[in-house]
């Protein structure tokens, strides 16, 4: 576009100066965004004696990571978080893809009613249903179990993801599905064999988001689990009070909790950006 090349910002600056200023501003913004994470990584690499003066000294060690990894509770928490995030992603996708498909392909009272329900429940604050869910899971014997944490996670994703999924399916021309049905495909066949494959980029984007949301979630796990199913976010929050002064260990745990999320996001970034372009 011509507009981009014509200087309208600080026109009195020579082109070189403007370019340098722009690069500096971008670098500064990037630094501001990355700083907390960089600082955390730096802290996790300092030995216990140097952790209070992260900005001084040049000793670095991986000792904190080794110490954290020898703590059985933390390792269990990591495994639990990974397991629950993965299962929640699989179940959520099955449930929300079909619900979003329904919202997109059918109009009429049933569809409007379902959309209204989803919107209303999207607004309900988590605390309003997770707090009493504590009694419910206890009376159903689900408190502090995998199922008791997994199913509420799947339930909470229904509203937002059905809504996003509806948008994705709206952008896909249904004529392919009609053609498949004329050729003798059932409705289910048209949905599973035609609509789902063409929505695959969007579904991958949702899978990435769903995994990240579940991995990062805190309130559900805090209320719905006790000691038998520790997950990483709750264990870390307990750290703050229990090991308040051992910042190197806390930073090491936090860095390890960031790694899987980063990997998922790094490989999924292109799907998310492509998938969200409705």
């Amino acid at each position: 576009m011509a507009m981009v090349n014509r200087p309208t910002f600080l026109p009195w600056l020579p082109p070189m100066g403007r370019k340098t200023l722009f690069a500096l501003a971008v670098a500064l913004i990037c630094f501001a965004f990355a700083f907390p994470v960089l600082w955390l990584i730096l802290t996790s690499l300092r030995p216990e004696s140097g952790v209070y003066y992260v900005h001084r000294g040049t000793e670095f060690t991986l000792g904190s990571f080794a110490e954290v990894l020898s703590d059985e509770r933390i390792v269990t928490a990591f495994l639990n978080s990974a397991l629950i995030s993965t299962l929640a992603t699989v179940f959520s996708l099955v449930v929300t893809v079909s619900s979003g498909y329904m919202l997109s392909r059918f109009t009429g009272p049933a569809s409007r009613l379902w959309f209204g329900t989803i919107y209303v429940f999207r607004c309900v604050p988590y605390i309003s249903w997770v707090l009493p869910l504590y009694f419910v899971t206890q009376s159903w014997g689900l408190y502090d179990t995998y199922t008791g944490l997994l199913l509420p996670h799947v339930a909470v994703h229904i509203c937002f993801f059905s809504w996003l999924m509806k948008g994705f399916f709206d952008g896909i021309d249904p004529s392919m599905e009609y053609a498949a049905m004329i050729d003798g495909c059932t409705r289910w066949g048209a949905f599973i064999r035609v609509a789902v494959p063409s929505a695959l980029p969007a579904i991958s984007a949702l899978a990435v988001l769903c995994w990240l949301f579940t991995w990062n979630e805190f309130l559900f796990a805090l209320i719905l689990t006790g000691n038998r199913v520790p997950v990483i976010t709750v264990v870390m929050a307990q750290f703050v009070t229990e090991m308040g002064l051992r910042w190197n260990l806390m930073a090491a745990t936090a860095v390890m909790a960031l790694v899987p999320a980063f990997l998922v996001a790094l490989f999924g970034q292109k799907y998310v950006i492509r998938g969200l372009r409705i």
Partner: protein
């Protein structure tokens, strides 16, 4: 009983509806029931007490003068902050420059960070004795602050953390919106020599309005129920001065072990945000149709 099409429609939403019934509707009903009873651990009979808990919550000065203003202030400032920064960054990323992909990846970093981890990082950075913020302040001759034990600085730090966490979300959705805008009006404006500011004010902003409104609605509703970062950063303190609505309900239910009062607070908050949600939805609808 049903035609083939109705059966298909119902089966498509059946799993979702069943899960929502079991894990959202049932708890809300049970929570509503608990909010009318003396549901404390020492009272096994769970006596019916009517609206007592509701009256107790809405006449509680802490709720009325601290929690509610905090929640609304937090909601407005957090959404406004993340929107302004997110929009600026989306505009930046929408123009091609060398290293654009790398910058985009860096700017999306906070999206991957769990709120709890973000809160721990920020707590460490703003630590009053060893935090880097105070170290830098003292190095340039200013006085370090006990950031997290003063009301407004603690509130500011919480707000900053939230804006840092959620800006990428706005950037991502607004960038997707910007890239789907038609090119012709911008080319016409460039030929006419319109200034960058006027292009932004009279072309980009109006055309982007539907996307902005949707982002704002989603974020506002989520900001209202913020829990993780406040819990980890200050736990509602100093005193109870940074408590938000979710924390108030949690503290009453699980720390004071008064599940009835906690449920009542959760329902009051739920009703408030439901009203806001419906009003905002109408707004979106009007803007989308206009």
């Amino acid at each position: 009983m049903f035609g083939e099409q109705q059966r298909f429609v119902l089966l498509l939403i059946a799993p979702a509806a069943l899960l929502m019934l079991l894990f959202q509707v049932v708890p809300i009903v049970i929570g509503a029931n608990a909010s009318f009873r003396n549901w404390a651990l020492y009272n096994p009979k769970k006596t019916w007490i009517g609206f007592d808990h509701y009256v107790a919550v809405i006449t509680d000065p802490a709720f009325l003068y601290v929690v509610l203003p905090n929640t609304f202030l937090f909601m407005v400032l957090s959404v406004a902050g993340a929107l302004v920064v997110g929009l600026a960054l989306a505009l930046l990323l929408n123009r091609p420059f060398r290293g654009q992909k790398l910058v985009q990846t860096i700017l999306l970093v906070p999206l991957m960070v769990a709120p709890v981890i973000a809160a721990i990082m920020i707590r460490w950075i703003f630590n009053d004795q060893f935090g880097i913020v105070n170290v830098v302040l003292e190095a340039i001759g200013l006085e370090g602050q006990p950031w997290l034990v003063q009301r407004w600085s603690a509130f500011g730090v919480i707000l900053l953390t939230d804006i840092w966490l959620w800006t990428p979300w706005f950037t991502l959705l607004l960038l997707a919106g910007l890239q789907s805008l038609p090119k012709e009006p911008f080319e016409a404006a460039a030929i006419d020599g319109t200034s960058t500011w006027r292009v932004f004010r009279f072309l980009t902003l109006p055309m982007l309005r539907p996307v902005i409104v949707v982002c704002v609605v989603i974020r506002a509703i989520d900001a209202f129920r913020t829990f993780d970062i406040v819990w980890t950063l200050t736990g509602g303190g100093p005193g109870r001065s940074t408590e938000l609505f979710s924390l108030y309900a949690y503290v009453h239910a699980f720390l004071n072990l008064d599940l009835g009062r906690g449920s009542a607070a959760a329902i009051i908050g739920g009703l408030i945000i439901l009203v806001i949600g419906v009003v905002l939805y109408r707004l979106v609808d009007r803007i989308a149709k206009a």
